[in-house]
């Protein structure tokens, strides 16, 4: 914390003022808090999913791509939904989003179990493929007729818009889905036999194999769930915030990567992902408060976030490992 404070002190701003601005701006003011909630929605969904995958020691770095591929399928439904009855547009879009994310997630699972392809590489690379696919669609076949040649798809029909809490941008349906999914993920991991299989495969793959747990089945399962939740998060962003498909970095703004940190800080416990997501969303939202009121550059916010994370990790290390100072001389420490 003091190092983070130093970042501000160097720029001639009282660190306490800055901290008050960040957390006050995102938690204490009603509108800041609503924005924090809005930002936390995708983080909750994705980090809960990642917790499942990480518990099975499947290093899924590809939530970003899974989110985007979910968005592609959901957009496909949204753009061609005019003939559908309005009440089934949103469920279908969410279904398509989850399916897209799950498909994009199970691909590296297959690659790992069948061809021994390292999943860190494959999930990371699939992020880029999904992003390029979105770019192709928004500049090519799906470029909107009503968007003056800009790379956005046409806006979705009103039936594909998620309701928001009036006066805020919180699409509460996705929030509800997120909370339910986080709880469901917790019960799956901690209270079901399937969760037991997942945990055993993660903690002792050899024992898992000997006791007849199929690695393929577990990998497909965790990645289907992890990707599916990322796809749901993407669909929520599409229908709740953007209402059309556009540049991949505008759709996601790095949620898939931030959620990795969130999942680890929540110690891979889906329930803990909820408050940690809120904390991180608060850091993101509070970031513009210190720009507007203290006139600090944008990069300061990132440095501050990085410092907090680094020291949290450090704290974790010292908590898990006992450090003892040894001296060769007789004097004890």
């Amino acid at each position: 914390m003091s190092a983070a404070g130093l970042v501000f002190a160097v720029q001639g701003v009282n660190p306490w003022t800055a901290l008050w601005k960040i957390f006050g701006g995102s938690f204490c003011r009603s509108f800041g808090f609503f924005e924090t909630m809005t930002k936390a929605i995708p983080l909750i969904l994705i980090s809960a999913g990642l917790s499942i995958a990480f518990r099975a020691r499947f290093w899924n770095i590809g939530a970003e791509g899974q989110l985007l591929f979910g968005c592609i399928l959901a957009t496909g439904v949204g753009l061609h939904s005019s003939s559908l009855p309005s009440y089934c547009v949103l469920p279908l879009m969410f279904l398509a989003g989850a399916t897209g994310g799950a498909l994009w997630g199970t691909l590296p699972a297959l690659l790992r179990e069948k061809y021994r392809v390292n999943e860190v590489i494959s999930t990371l690379m699939l992020n880029y493929i999904a992003a390029e696919a979105v770019q192709y669609l928004i500049y090519g076949p799906w470029k909107g007729k009503t968007q003056w040649g800009f790379p956005y798809t046409d806006n979705f029909p009103p039936a594909a818009s998620l309701p928001v809490i009036p006066g805020t941008r919180i699409h509460w349906l996705t929030l509800l889905i997120g909370l339910v999914m986080a709880c469901a993920a917790y019960f799956l991991l901690e209270r079901s036999s399937m969760g037991f299989e997942i945990r055993v495969s993660g903690e002792n793959p050899e024992a898992a194999r000997r006791s007849g747990i199929s690695p393929l089945r577990v990998s497909l399962l965790v990645m289907g769930l992890s990707g599916g939740l990322a796809g749901l998060a993407g669909t929520g962003e599409l229908c709740g915030v953007h209402h059309h498909l556009t540049y991949p970095w505008a759709i996601s703004s790095g949620y898939g990567f931030t959620a990795i940190i969130v999942a680890w800080m929540a110690m891979l416990n889906p329930l803990w992902c909820i408050p940690v997501s809120l904390l991180f969303a608060g850091l993101l939202v509070g970031g513009d408060a210190i720009q507007t009121s203290l006139g600090l550059p944008f990069a300061t916010v990132n440095v501050f976030n990085g410092a907090i994370l680094f020291f949290l990790m450090l704290a974790e290390f010292f908590r898990e490992n006992k450090i003892s100072l040894k001296r060769s001389a007789s004097a004890g420490a």
């Binding site: 003022t17 008050w20 509108f31 090519g140 800009f150 009121s293 949290l312």
Partner: protein
Amino acid sequence: MNIFKTSCITAMILSAALSCGCGKPQPPVKSPSTAAGVPAPTAATSEQQQVRKFKAGLIYVGPVGDYGWSNAHELARLQVMKKIPWLQSIVVESVPEADSARVIDRLILEEKCDAVFTTSFGYMDATVDAAKRYPNKLFMHCSGYKREKNLGTYFAELYETYYLCGLMAGALSKTGKIGYVGAHPIPEVVRHINAFAIGIREINPEAKLSVKWLFSWYDPAKAKEAAEALVAEGCDAISFTEDSPAVIQVGEAHTNAGKPVYTFSHYSAMLKFGENSVVSGQLVDWTGMYEKTLSAMHTGTWQSEDLWWLLKEGAAVLGADFRQTINYRHIDMLKGVTREIEGFGAINAYDLVNKRLDQMKADPRSFDPFTGPIKDQTGAIRIPEGHVADHDALWSMDWFVEGVEGRTSQ
């Protein structure tokens, strides 16, 4: 156990941040709502009685330190701040499109801004919503087309300047192959490429303009790669839309190695990155526009309108930097290229550029690069003889003129 400990850490950090923030209130930080302004309102009461203060908030899509778009707005803001004593301003940089609604709210509710300027096309819908939500505040959206009673639009348009650079590229190119590194295939960039191509082909009707897309506004590595690819294809003059001097550095390296590749400054003065390669360029100066708009807002005479400023208004500027319109190293070469041009007779390229520049500075209607007949890539006439492309046609342009090699979509 684990959970408990981490929760303690998190709670400690949160409570430390909150309690210390509240426990040691700085004089101006008693409550968040009064902590808003940098200079506290009380300090200025004596001046306030004479001149009412006016607070403007600006939202940028990129970092203020880029070499292009956001930097140009920031330079103008700093200029205007120097000129106008009653102005206060706040900037928020690197705001993602999806977050713009929140930042506008914050500027108005917490910082009590009187006017908000949003400077990216992607902020359009959020700005329109905000204008409806805060009818007593004023809004200006840069590069959009939706207006309200309290929401105007503004834009500094560069197609005339691109055309003039095209004349120079056409005159200097020996290979007849000219390159363009484009950011995104959107109408603005397509229109600029077309204007550049029209200029090139007025001097050299056989010349070809090869376009490479980056799909990014800022990506120096990709821009460098694209420029190298164009040089390898035989291009010896390259223009670009990208917020870094990467293309110019490629041109300078080849020029210094004995193989001239001519380049053009884009958006900000880039001559210093390529003393031998940069010929001229399209520059932007937003100062006048901000000064005019803010003054009108302050006196209460402002009305919602669409500001579309060109060379005449001084928003678009032709130059390798703001002092040298054309790099003196290249003037003699331009004077050595003579063509028969309707209305001027036999004229060298240097004089032609200056004559056209004077024409468009005096009155954009006296000469417009997009005057028919103009054919597209297939040879079909898009702008018939005697017609000039109007605002809407320019605004939604999604086709390339004859002589451009490349596609406007993937």
